[in-house]
Symmetry: C2
Subunit: 372 residues, 2 copies
């Protein structure tokens, strides 16, 4: 029996990693996606994430996990972040290690701690609906479940994974909570259309809410060595031994996404529940997503992102992202993507926006790495 209410034992964890190479050349190694303002609202995605979580948890219960290289940028973006809640990785080890370390540190601080993991680089509109979903998820987590938040699809998206919902769990909440039957990989368009038609399939927004100990114990079933190492680091976290422990153990950790180490096995064993939510959510994975976000999906519209951007266009559609005050003139272009930075100009189409990643990968091996 816990004496402190679940929501008061709840810490928001923001894993802030990932360059977002599909958003190159706007995103760079030194300017990863979570540090960018992709909505034109004036805040980086990280800052917007912080602002969104503030009504749910006070600053002392918001934690950020990021790479050493981004420590200063993160502190600059989030002046309210407490030093003890900034967890840095010496090298990127994917989400199991990042979220797992946060969980282990929180478990160390309070064995009854509940945590929720929320990406630093997604866009959400409808904060009240988001907050309500999180609070419902926290209640389910307090009962020992691993909860996720699924988004009701508004179109047959092929760029997101889906959650197939099972039985409604009215024992956990009167509405909107379901067993997770399984997680489904990004579907083709026909399958995505069928999901939309038949219902019961939600977008997987990659949010996980659980007791820290439950999350770690679940992860330990798949990755016992990883969890043992994370708990060892956490046991000395905040002391002078922390750096040494992390130094010794971190580089040997396996790189595995929390989806595979936790979410899928938990779903298979009936420990995963889903809160179905209606807020607008996008992982803004490529420039086509940003264009749709800025034009709110209106066909034929041209989206413009950039402070000094001057755009002269006829009936052209797509998106112009400008980091200069040059005039960008478009003539007769449909669904074009133009990204104008100081040292790189990218021109592609919304249909090929995903292929930017392939170009970036090519540059890594063929030279031009200084521009990444």
């Amino acid at each position: 029996m816990t004496e402190i209410a679940a929501i008061d034992r709840f810490t928001c964890v923001i894993p802030a990693g990932g360059v977002g190479s599909r958003l190159w050349p706007l995103s760079r190694a030194a300017a990863p996606k979570f540090l960018l303002d992709l909505t034109g609202g004036g805040d980086s995605l990280l800052r917007a994430t912080w602002n969104r979580l503030m009504p749910i948890a006070p600053p002392e219960r918001i934690m950020v996990v990021t790479g050493n290289a981004h420590r200063e940028s993160v502190v600059e973006q989030l002046p309210g972040l407490l030093p003890e809640n900034l967890v840095t990785e010496s090298e990127p080890k994917d989400s199991s290690a990042a979220i797992g370390l946060a969980a282990a540190i929180l478990e160390q601080r309070d064995p009854e701690a509940i945590l929720g993991s929320f990406a630093a680089d997604h866009v959400i509109r409808g904060n009240v609906l988001f907050q309500r979903a999180v609070k419902t998820a926290v209640q389910a987590a307090d009962q020992g479940y691993i909860a996720t938040i699924g988004i009701h699809p508004t179109h047959p998206a092929t760029g997101f994974g889906y959650i197939k919902c099972g039985t409604g769990r009215t024992d956990l909440a009167p509405f909107d909570v379901y067993d997770v039957e399984k997680f489904v990989e990004k579907p083709d368009e026909a399958t995505a259309g069928a999901y939309l038609q038949q219902g019961g399939h939600l977008w997987n927004a990659g949010m996980f809410i659980a007791r820290a100990s439950v999350l770690l114990d679940q992860m330990a079933l798949a990755e016992p060595g990883l969890v043992a190492a994370l708990r060892e680091i956490a046991s000395v976290w905040g002391t002078k031994k922390a750096a040494v422990a992390r130094e010794r153990l971190w580089s040997g950790l396996p790189k595995i996404a929390v989806d595979y180490s936790v979410a899928e096995p938990a779903a298979a064993s009936g420990k995963m529940v889903c809160v179905a939510a209606h807020f607008d959510w996008d992982d803004v994975g490529d420039f086509a997503s940003i264009a749709d976000l800025l034009t709110r999906g209106r066909k034929g519209d041209l989206a413009v992102l950039g402070d000094g951007a001057q755009v002269l266009s006829d009936a052209s559609s797509g998106i112009v992202v400008s980091e200069s005050d040059r005039l960008v003139a478009l003539v007769g272009m449909t669904d074009v993507v133009v990204v104008d930075t100081a040292d790189v100009l990218l021109v592609t189409s919304k249909a090929h926006a995903q292929d930017v990643k392939a170009l970036v990968n090519r540059m890594k091996v063929s030279g031009g790495g200084h521009l990444l």
Copy 2:
């Protein structure tokens, strides 16, 4: 009976005017098309025109007519140009005034003078064939005809006017000289295809070769006031009175293309002949033309124009024109046109290359004129 051979009375006139607004933002008011290097060969089109004419006429018989604003640029490009052969206009008055003034000055210097007018901003490959055609045209001109040089079409071009050839004129030359039956405006694609199929239609390259007096007398039938004014200016040309005379008369001159004041009426009255030629010719009227020129028409190729241009492309095709040393990355673009200058970036397609002019016209009235 002339004692001096026709070719030794022949002066090449290069009207160097026209911004080339379809090539904006590469072309600007201060950097008109004829001052640009559009082939990547290192020479401006004007300089290349000069080089092409040198084997036909010595420097003392090559004349340039240009706007006052471009005097210095022209002199810089053509150090061999004699001061008395640089004719400047106080304001642009279209080709009848420009070529007519040159003709009047040459007529003043030598009543038997023959002139040929060759645009400063076209691209020609096959100089020997060009020289031979010009020499044939000079012979016909000496006989009192107005000669033009028509290019055998290699594809059903819709961007050029055509010359419909009549009877072969073996009295003037053993081969390749025909009466001009009429000039035909830019055709649609079906018509252009039919021209190519049936033969007898040549591209109108806008070259006119005639005795100066014949050209002026023909022009005087349509535009007597214009020709009278030009002859009045020419009568004092080279004296201290020239500037005053030009100042007084020039602004009142009608703006009319030499095609309408001379070529079409001359054709209608049987005074126009055509030399059919096989050299490669292009008026490089838009970026699609430049792309075709640089890739020699190979489909799927990407053309690159610019000294410092760095281009990273997958299977994209079209043209990149770069005035910077920025990396230009293209992903999945077909027949794209990217023009990257210091203050303007243009993105369009080969299919819309002609529409750049409409954009420029819009800018003239709606602001942004400082970028033109």
